[in-house]
């Protein structure tokens, strides 16, 4: 079923698992949920031996268990869920998994941008049909959120804070009254939300200032803050998990040597420490150094070795990918990377040797090329 799709949504990709979980689930299910809250948690965080399941459910989202539990519980309650955090912390992925597990549909998404209008949240009209038949339910184009209301499933709103305040405020009535009225129609002019409807929104904590949420809207959301992963072990797991997935998507058979993965994680950890110690923005890389960015670096390196190399991931390639992805501003970022390479990577290469040597060389070359 995933054939022909560049990226299948979670409910398609994990259809087997969801079917299985649904078949063994005997827990109480709120509203029209397809799985009980416990099973939703199992789906997201993976199963354990103690759960008594016949097949193993792999972990799909890595992070504190409490966040997932709090999110699930929020969806079962009266309020919307707002996942907030730095870019690249896995908010959207968690939202997708939750929507897939709860309602088997994670595609009812509104993307918040500066150009998002109220129509994107409520409904709009098919102009030619309106001209032909007049305004009626048929000539109305419901938004993904309205569709979710009608079906009693989870709707998603990505980057809530990127959309303007008036658009955000359109959500208030949806979240409290749970219906949308269509004043253009004379009858059948209210769409009521079916039980099971809820909204998962994500917001970037770095953009908070752009269009801050009104307190009325804040009240209607439960906030779950997803922190940047700093635990090296779980970060390694995330990177490995996502890269495997990406490789599968590209149909690439390529082994990521654990030593290289370590080097990548270590470099990011070092860069983060350096960024934390920096006093001005000029001494900090523009990048947020999130886990997603590590995955990006690794993906870039893998693709490079696959198509331009000899199908083996090498430290030099990884280094040049890292430099290439992180050097966004010239000369500031390059200067920081140069300093990092000479101060930290060189030290590590002398002390630990191994792949670090190649990493040092590759990085140097890449920096030299870019400067």
């Amino acid at each position: 079923m995933t054939d022909g799709m560049l990226r299948a949504p979670a409910e398609v990709k994990y259809a087997d698992e969801l079917d299985y979980l649904e078949s063994v689930d005997d827990g109480p299910k709120p509203f029209s949920w397809r799985l009980s809250p416990k099973m939703v948690r199992t789906f997201v965080l993976g199963s354990e031996r103690g759960d008594g399941l016949d097949r193993e459910i792999p972990q799909k989202w890595f992070g504190d268990r409490t966040f997932v539990e709090r999110s699930i519980v929020t969806l079962a309650s009266d309020r919307g869920l707002l996942l907030i955090g730095d870019p690249g912390t896995g908010k959207s992925w968690l939202a997708e998994l939750l929507a897939a597990a709860v309602s088997r549909n994670s595609t009812l998404v509104v993307q918040g941008t500066a150009g998002t209008t109220e129509d994107h949240i409520k409904y709009s009209w098919n102009v030619s049909m309106v001209i032909a038949k007049g305004q009626s339910r048929e000539s109305m184009i419901p938004s993904p959120i309205m569709t979710a209301m009608e079906r009693g499933v989870i709707g998603r709103f990505e980057e809530l804070t990127r959309s303007t305040s008036d658009v955000q405020d359109a959500l208030i009535s949806i979240l409290s009254e749970k219906y949308v009225s269509i004043p253009e129609l004379d009858d059948d002019n209210t769409v009521f939300a079916k039980p099971g409807f809820s909204i998962i929104a994500t917001a970037n904590s770095r953009d908070r200032g752009v269009n801050d949420l009104s307190s009325a809207l804040k009240r209607r959301f439960n906030f779950v803050r997803i922190p940047v992963v700093t635990n090296k072990r779980s970060e390694a797991e995330i990177v490995r998990f996502r890269t495997t997935e990406l490789l599968r998507r590209h149909r690439i058979e390529l082994e990521v040597p654990p030593t290289l993965l370590d080097i990548l994680l270590q470099s990011f950890a070092d860069l983060r420490t350096a960024a934390a110690a920096a006093t001005s923005d000029d001494e900090k890389l523009e990048s947020a150094l999130s886990t997603a960015e590590q995955i990006g670096v690794l993906e870039d390196a893998i693709l490079h070795s696959r198509f331009f190399g000899d199908d083996t991931l090498r430290a030099t390639t990884l280094a040049s990918s890292l430099v290439g992805s992180l050097a966004r501003r010239s000369p500031e970022d390059l200067a920081i990377l140069n300093k990092f390479w000479h101060g930290v990577v060189e030290g590590r290469s002398k002390k630990e040797g191994g792949e670090w040597k190649g990493f040092l060389e590759g990085g140097r070359e890449a920096i030299a090329t870019l400067s």
Binding site: E48, G50, R65, E69, S77, L213, R219, V224
Partner: protein, 959 residues
Amino acid sequence: MPKAETAPDGGGAFAALRGQLQDAAERFADAPGAAAEILAGMVDDVDRALAEELEIFPVCHHSPSSALAMARRLREKRPKVVYLELCEDMRPLLDELRNCRLPVALQAFASDIDGFDKEWAPLSVVAPITEASAEYQAIAYALETPDVELVAVDWSTDHLFQWEEDDPASRKNRKAKKADEPKASGSGSGAGAGSGGEAEEPDEDGDDEALHGDAVGVELGELRPGFAELEEHLLHHGRVRHWSEWWDQYVEQPLSGAGYDAYRQVMLLVGSLFRRLRDTGDLARSEERERYMWTRMRQHMAASGTEPGDALYVCGALHAASRVEQFGARSDAPYEIAEPTKTRWLYGLIPSSHSAIEAQFGLAQGSVSIAAATWQKALKLSGVAPFRLAGQKGTTRKSPKAAPISAGPTEDRLSGFLTTPPEAGELDEEELLAWSVDIVRLARRNGYLASTADAIAIVETSVLLAGMRGRNRPTPYDFQDAAVTCIEKDAVPGRRDVRRLCEILLGGDRVGQVGYHALPPLAQNVLDRLEPLGLDLTKRTVQRALLDLRSEPHLRACSDVLWMLRRLLPDGTVRPIMGSRALGERSVQESWDLALGRDQRWLVELGYEGVTIEQVLEQRLRRAAWASGATASTALAAVEDALVLLGSRRFVDELGARAVELLAAERTVDDAPEVLRRVRRLLAHYRASEPELPAWCKEFVTEGYAHYCTLLPTAFTDEETGVRQVAAMLGFLFGMESLALSLGCDHAQLEIAVAQAHPELPGKVALLWAARLQLGTLSRAELRARCDEMLGNPLVVPAFPRYLSGFVQALEPVPTLAPFVVEVMSKAFGTLPDHVLLPWLPRLVMTLREQAAELVPVLTREAGRTFPGSLPALDAWTPPWTAAAPEPGPGPSGRSSVPAGPVAELLAAHPAACDAVAALFGLEPTWQAAAPAPASGAASGLVERHPEAAGALAALLGA
């Protein structure tokens, strides 16, 4: 008394359980041997501990169920002797507990170390005691019941450190900790020790969390997995976040309603499990302590004739399941107890707090508070009357009520416990509703936009969360998560976030207090002496003291004490709001912010240093002056403190002599500005207040004169030495010269020193010129010519500002240079090109502000004198130097007349003396005609009109 008639070979009450565990081991593990050994061994351990004649009571710290079981058991058994796992040397402190409000910590403190690594000093060990603990129950029972003896049997603090010293791992730990822990705690005391096993580093330093400082923590009933993996595993599978939460859910809650047998068996089992999964280093330490404890108990029983059956041994569950040979009241395995070192240990009580305990022992935030709340609730539910020390401040005392008694042979209560999932009590809806409403109210008060809708959502979310986590009743942890989910938004509006508010709601952080009678003599003395202020200094709030010393002179003594405390205690504890005290400065009114009640710990620790604050202050000053890194300026600072605060002549002289010694030994002049500043102040003080300078002062001046003369040439050329330092040296030399010369120094020494100086840096060259001007080897006209020449030379112009900086610094040694500096500066501003002047201006301002702040007023005053004050005057104004320059000036020799006056008249009337002096210098005496005396001045007019005073004076002088 329950006794198990079993041998550890597998029979008895636990046979079924043993078999089951072995089965389980074989089923789960690939290597059945190891797992089976552990599992069966656990049952053996439980068996053996239960079979021991001396009743072992396993406890876990901050466990309400332990406390509850303890209270029940004590009422039932009424033992005559209670053996307690507590540092034996801390036993006398326990009697003082009744004067305190818990939680407090027993502290052993040593700064005078003999037998340990000196680097460790000062050593500090704390053992916190909370009310919701089994050990407090045991202590209260033993101290309140007549004829019951309480014996602390654990290592003394000295033995604790002896082990640390012998244990290479601990040593390494301690070294590492020392290295990355540069923070000195407040007063400089209490810094020091970390330990391998029992103490954990505080994660963060809050106000109350820092109450224990960096003392080593010991506590009764340590029970926690010895290695991180096991703990992680338990947390993961228990679906809980913290160890405290796991313990609460899987052991604490199920046990709170269980009988004594079940309690004892479960605790022994858990203790045994953790013990068996411990790493060997840790285990060795535990075993060493167990040998010690058992030996001590046997010694006590032998000496007092106590029957093992009449005693109760209270120890951590980990130690209960011990396998050392010395285990058992009837064991006769020898064990030699090491002699304590010669270190002098001091003991006291310091206030503790829940958060301090959590931070020190690595517990989850809020867990001790939650334990305290659970304890109160459990008391209410179970109807058990807890033991309390008479007079203990805190919660109200309840009348004791007989508790149900259980007795009988050992039954297997373990199997039931192990096979049933944790069953918590029924959902306490009332409590949850109350919590939810309260947290919303609290959140609103802290700036959150929380409403009743949130309270409803919290209740709903807590129940859902608990359901999802497999509990039928929301625990405080679930409630906390729910509150955070529903109330916490993107930002925290106030000082506290919702998590913290929940902790406050669930009992909050309780901070203990040490009562007056339990305080060390020094602290009592301080409180006594501050009594006249009429404040309750035991309160935890900051109190304002107002002292009007003129109308209430008896408060002067209080003021003295407060100033001393301010010098001794860390900032913020005693803070003057108004009033100051320095050399020659005493306020008539003072107001103080006092937080002695809040910061009791500092006062208590001060008590370890001496009996009165005067003594402590003297010791500290002495230590500062005789420290290895002490310099003359630190010694002078100590002198100043001693003068201002102590006023002891003998001690001041001693410190002064030390300052002289230090000055003579100094090879650098980095401190010169500080030395100059201080010695000037001290000299001014002595001149104003004493008929004669003290001997050390004279010595300091002569020594300083010679010392700085010697160092002057090198300081001028040395690149490391700054202009300011050299200026300060010159300041010392010129400023003290008259005094030094009167004390026998030689002016020639200074002249030679200046002549030897050949500086290269512009700033120092300017200083040298100023010095020569002062010495008279360079005239003002010459100096002016040099400056003008520099300003005219385009090659030198860029360096000119640096010369100017030198001149500004030279105001310190040569204050008469001020008009000249104003002149040069005006010229510089007038003639220097912008590209030189503009970049230099900010630097000038910075330099003036940082290094010569005290010279700026001199400069501005002089400028005010030189420049006209109004705009119209500016048009007609010519700078004095340009006005003076064209006229050649009569010069010193060309003076045509001398001012007339009584002096001139006197000299003219009796020329013999002057002639003799002139002859001595080999000069021809020539006398000039004095200008006619002013016929009438205001003064002479006044004297003429009222001649009586002058006549009387003349009569008095016998003229």
